[in-house]
């Protein structure tokens, strides 16, 4: 058959595309359960790391049950929605809906007899989405740990948000000022002043990602204020 004829070209294209699509679809479907399990364990691992429990991904499943006592899904007014499984809430979908319709997941963990509130975060970085977890102390004000991650920030610049030097800066910062007004914690370009209780150093060369983290932390934490006020 003539390799340059329209028919040959057409048949070749169809066979190639269908073949490749079938191969990829098969791989994706077969590997899906394994991939989902990795993602689930990583989520548990990240939540645990914010309260200072560092475990391997494989152990995370068991340890999670030991530390996390309550998994709540909150409504915008701060009341608990009993019908929703908090762990299954996908913030990527929730954040697209109006505030009143969203469900806000909250994990209450206990470690050494102390209570911690772990809040999942989700927002936009420079290229793709960013997410993370922030753990508040018993006083619902002091941050005891933060963990961030990203889907595609620039390696060495914005991608540094998942490094401990960046995450650890949040430890000990407070989200309310002396007058009990919500101020959140901001990533400050050029570096936060020493003693700033509401600021951390932004990443040089990663300004947009740093701002994304600031917006994400502020926007998400704000949703939990009604719950914190009532409990």
């Amino acid at each position: 058959m003539d390799r340059n004829s329209n028919l040959y070209t057409f048949i070749f294209a169809v066979i190639l595309v269908v073949g490749v699509a079938a191969a990829l679809a098969f791989t994706a479907t077969t590997l899906k359960p394994l991939q989902a399990e990795n993602v689930r364990k990583e989520k548990m691992q990240n939540i645990l790391s914010t309260i200072g429990v560092n475990v391997s991904r494989d152990e995370a499943g068991v340890q999670f049950m030991d530390f996390v006592k309550e998994e709540l899904a909150l409504n915008a007014d701060g009341s608990v929605n009993e019908d929703v499984d908090a762990f299954k809430i996908e913030l990527m979908k929730e954040t697209k809906m109006p505030k009143e319709e969203q469900a806000f997941p909250l994990y209450i963990a206990e470690k050494d007899g102390k209570k911690f509130y772990v809040i999942p975060l989700f927002g936009a970085g420079l290229w793709k989405e960013i997410w993370g977890y922030i753990a508040l102390d018993d006083d619902k004000n002091t941050i005891v740990g933060a963990s961030f991650d990203h889907a595609g920030e620039t390696a060495g610049l914005g991608a540094e948000i998942n490094q401990s030097w960046y995450e650890d800066q949040y430890i000990g910062k407070t989200i309310f000022d002396e007058n009990n007004n919500f101020v959140s914690v901001k990533a400050v370009k050029g570096g936060a002043k020493s003693g700033d209780m509401h600021g951390v150093d932004a990443i040089s060369g990663g300004t947009i990602t740093s701002d994304g983290v600031t917006d994400m932390v502020t926007e998400r934490l704000e949703n939990y204020l009604p719950y914190f006020k009532n409990n």
Binding site: A13, A23, Q35
Partner: protein, 224 residues
């Protein structure tokens, strides 16, 4: 190999396929291909290694597949066919890693887009694999990725060392604390990292310096 071809697997001609791209015909510094990824991921040495390995896998297997299909591919849609092969390989690797080696996949996920658009890959498919047998195509793939990897590693070595004082994530120049008193190593004597090295323009300048150095050493590259 073609029937009747008595050439050895590593004949002089085949060895040149491996060696030429390292210096005389380097894909980045001589052909100026793949510059985009050379800028994007040379901030850290580790990322450069991961990227080089990923590109090697895709280019070697892609070259092989294209070379095997070279007598079947219709001329008018060959570029699209090449793109499909690259995209197929990259997604396949990404999916398998996500299931069996989650940590590596997380590192690689950023590069997936960069691999697909890497001009070296399309360049080698188009210029070499379409017109050569499978074994030569594999050698060409290995040679070109090693040539690419050399540039990535040299550039990221200088960028990571001068930009963040680290190599492979280790603080080789000492630890930079909040003040000079808390710092160790070079930082204790007032040394500062050059933040400019972290930005894309310095990657170009570093590649430029490499080209300058290479051209002054290699007489074949000197133009009249």
């Amino acid at each position: 190999m073609m029937a009747g071809n008595k050439e050895g697997l590593f004949s002089q001609k085949n060895r040149r396929l491996l060696i030429d791209p390292l210096d005389d015909d380097n894909p980045v510094t001589v052909q100026v291909l793949g510059i985009c990824s050379a800028l994007a991921i040379t901030v850290q040495l580790k990322a450069a290694f991961v990227m080089s390995l990923a590109v090697m896998f895709v280019l070697v297997f892609g070259n092989l597949i294209i070379s095997l299909m070279r007598n079947l591919i219709p001329n008018r849609i060959r570029i699209i066919v090449q793109l499909i092969v690259v995209a197929f390989l990259v997604i396949l690797v990404d999916q398998v890693l996500k299931a069996y080696s989650y940590d590596i996949s997380k590192q690689l996920s950023v590069f997936v887009g960069l691999i697909i658009t890497n001009c070296i890959i399309m360049g080698r498919f188009e210029a070499f694999a379409l017109g050569n047998g499978p074994w030569r195509a594999i050698l060409d793939g290995v040679g070109n990725t090693v040539g690419y990897a050399i540039i990535l590693i040299v550039v990221s070595f200088f960028r990571e060392l001068l930009g963040s004082g680290k190599l492979m994530g280790y603080e080789v120049l000492g630890h930079k604390g909040k003040s000079i008193a808390e710092s160790t190593g070079l930082y204790h004597y007032g040394y500062e990292n050059n933040g400019f090295m972290m930005l894309a323009p310095m990657a170009l300048i570093t590649v430029g310096i490499y080209i300058w150095f290479q051209r002054s050493k290699n007489r074949k590259l000197i133009e009249d």
